[in-house]
């Protein structure tokens, strides 16, 4: 459980927006200098508001995007600068489950073909083997063999997400990026999908990077979590440590904004709302990126960017409040 599978070091992913004549106009620093590790068998939850770069970080790690700078060590191998050809084998080891099960499945392929597609990468598999594999995958995600012949439009959102999961599992991945896998689903269906993911992890021990904005669901599924704000990882630690004793003012505000599904607790809790909006990632504030909204901002916060410190064991934050 404590063995590191993926180590991300000072990862940067910038997007350049082009102006009318094709020249670079703005640089969006979607992920800026992020370091963390994902251990074998754990679920690492990544939370933050929309536009904070959490999905970009996940997708850069599995090399759907090219890396601007920094290293990604997958089981000891640096995959940050591998070319497309060399990446093939890693793409099989790292899979993704998408947010929107309506657009993630090709509508003109039936379920069998959808799940078969990644299996074709393995040239040694016979078509009989592949079919058996598809049936066992469908059963694993709670669907029937007959569903192979059916098309995505015949299924509900929750069932489509199961097909997406079966496809992700088909290559026996060593790591799965869950990119908001439950956000588009109804409450009663969310629990089905979360339980399915948990069961599979217990069986195989595959680690997940679970990106979501539903903070209570992230708490439920994660072992450790990271909180992102404008491309930076502002706090990271064991799930219960972060939720019970948040250190960074942003995490505190984010957590107190969760609507509590318990009327008495909701009435008694004092909400600490932060004003303002998340600044544009094209024009990030100087120093600490949160200083424009932070209730505790000091002069130093607008000048010097804080570095990440270990305040308690395994609990990191980057905030000047915790400077010695």
């Amino acid at each position: 459980m404590n063995e590191t599978l993926i180590e991300v070091k000072n990862l940067k992913k910038y997007f350049a927006t082009k102006n009318f004549f094709g020249g670079n106009k703005h640089v969006v620093k979607a992920v800026d200098d992020v370091s963390f590790t994902i251990r074998k068998g754990e679920t690492f939850g990544l939370v933050g508001e929309s536009g904070c770069g959490k999905s970009t970080l996940g997708r850069t790690i599995i090399r759907m995007y090219d890396v601007t700078d920094g290293d990604i060590l997958f089981d000891g191998t640096n995959i940050a600068r591998l070319e497309k050809k060399q990446l093939g084998v890693y793409h099989r080891k790292m899979q993704i489950i998408f947010q929107d099960p309506y657009s993630a499945l090709n509508p003109s392929m039936n379920v069998g073909e959808i799940i078969n597609e990644p299996l074709l990468l393995d040239k040694e598999m016979s078509s009989k083997d592949r079919e058996n594999k598809i049936v066992s995958l469908l059963e694993k995600v709670g669907m029937k063999k007959d569903d192979m012949e059916r098309f995505p439009y015949e299924f509900s959102g929750g069932q489509r997400q199961r097909i997406g999961i079966a496809r992700a599992l088909s290559t026996n991945p060593e790591f799965i990026l869950c990119d908001e896998p439950i956000s588009a689903l109804d409450v009663s269906i969310q629990a089905q999908v979360v339980n399915l993911l948990e069961d599979y992890q217990q069986e195989i021990g595959v680690p997940y990077l679970f990106v979501a904005h539903d903070l209570s669901m992230v708490r439920h599924i994660s072992h450790r979590i990271g909180v992102m704000y404008l491309g930076n990882l502002v706090e990271m630690g064991d799930c219960d440590d972060v939720y019970d004793h948040p250190l960074h003012p942003y995490t505190q505000a984010l957590l107190s904004a969760i609507p509590i599904a318990d009327p008495q607790k909701a009435r008694s809790s004092t909400r600490q709302t932060i004003g303002g909006n998340i600044p544009s990632p094209m024009d990030v504030p100087s120093g600490c990126r949160f200083h424009t909204r932070c209730p505790y901002a000091k002069p130093i916060c607008s000048e010097v960017a804080p570095v990440s410190k270990e305040c308690e064991k395994g609990h990191f934050t980057s905030c000047h409040l915790y400077d010695e």
Binding site: E49, S188, I189, A257, I260, R267, R271
Partner: protein, 337 residues
């Protein structure tokens, strides 16, 4: 007498869509009362009919719809016998509505000021200059900084949270008695959601209006609403005060919904208890209780006819044959699935 007590009274409302040659009954006979100054939450999954119910009340459904009701009374006036003209006057003036998606509810080619002034000039019979003055006040009320400058800007210059504030300002411009908020925070981030909910709560106290809040998020209703109606398959499964719904749950669907979400602030990571199966199709609804196919407690009679409401002494109402839920049984079976 009832009319004096309640701002809105709905009795046996049916809303039917005629699509090609089929009739789809999205709302299948619901009763709902909203008192003056009350915040009522309507909770349900997608396709449960919660938005259609409120659009029926507003009268903003397309032409291929039939609305049948025994009674539909708003502030003492019978909505069913009203002409389209009279209803239009009511909308925007006494009833305001805000929608889920603040990105598409505004015209991208028109300035924010135009949106607000249009509402005010149409409903309040005032000059453009006066409308502009009131528009500035309306933006101040929803806590948008520098309203004079903001009126001259276009929707794309506003963030999601700010757009939702503009929509609230538009809905409240004519001081409505009822505000219908259809998933007002679903498209927003949690920190912005908290801001908007706080704003709605503050405005409700200031204006003493009633709010109907449509949402799928049990957390949102818990902190805001006085009473809750839980909808499923076009029917109201259970109504009661917020505390009754959360602590004295009487309908298996409500209980299952509460069990399917992670418990707030607990160290203990209990396994979630999902509701097996999926929601029924509205084109072919089950003959009996719509929840029966997924219900742990379903009995043979649940599948043949829709159960009658049980009225409890404390005002709670539940559309179920059971008087009490054996939570032990629910936990046991839900966990083994």
């Amino acid at each position: 007498m009832e009319e004096n007590k309640n701002l809105l009274t709905i009795r046996d409302l049916h809303t039917i869509f005629h699509i090609r040659n089929t009739n789809i009954e999205a709302v299948r006979g619901i009763d709902l009362d909203v008192g003056y100054g009350e915040i009522v939450g309507i909770v349900g999954e997608s396709g449960s009919g919660k938005s259609v119910t409120m659009k029926s009340v507003m009268g903003i459904l397309p032409d291929n719809t039939t609305i049948n009701a025994e009674k539909l009374v708003f502030d003492g006036a019978d909505l069913l016998s009203m002409s389209e003209n009279e209803r239009r006057k009511l909308r925007g003036c006494s009833m305001g509505m805000i929608f889920q998606d603040p990105m598409t509810a505004l015209n991208p080619l028109k300035k924010i000021g135009f949106h607000l002034e249009e509402v005010l000039m149409r409903h309040c019979n005032i000059s453009r200059a006066e409308a502009k003055k009131q528009a500035i006040e309306a933006l101040e009320k929803v806590e948008i900084p520098c309203p004079e400058k903001r009126l001259e800007q276009y929707p794309h210059e506003f963030s999601g949270g700010m757009r939702q504030r503009v929509l609230i300002a538009m809905a409240l411009a004519c001081k409505p008695k009822l505000l219908i908020a259809d998933e007002p925070t679903t498209a927003l981030d949690v920190t912005i959601q908290a801001q908007i909910l706080e704003l709605l709560q503050k405005l409700q106290k200031e204006e003493k209006m009633s709010i109907i809040l449509i949402t799928h998020d049990l957390g949102v209703v818990a902190s805001l609403c006085d009473r809750i109606a839980v909808m499923y398959g076009g029917l109201i499964m259970e109504t009661g005060t917020t505390d009754q719904i959360f602590y004295k749950t009487r309908h298996p669907y409500t209980q299952a919904l509460l069990n399917a979400i992670p418990k707030p602030n607990t160290q203990l990571k209990k396994r979630l208890e999902p509701i097996p199966g999926s929601a029924p199709s509205l084109a072919h609804p089950p003959a009996g209780c719509p929840f029966a196919p997924r219900c742990t407690f379903a009995m043979p009679e649940c599948r043949t006819s829709i159960p009658a409401y049980q009225q409890f002494e404390d005002g709670q109402k539940s559309m179920c044959l059971l008087r009490e839920i054996d939570t032990q049984k629910l936990a046991g079976e839900g966990g083994s699935k």
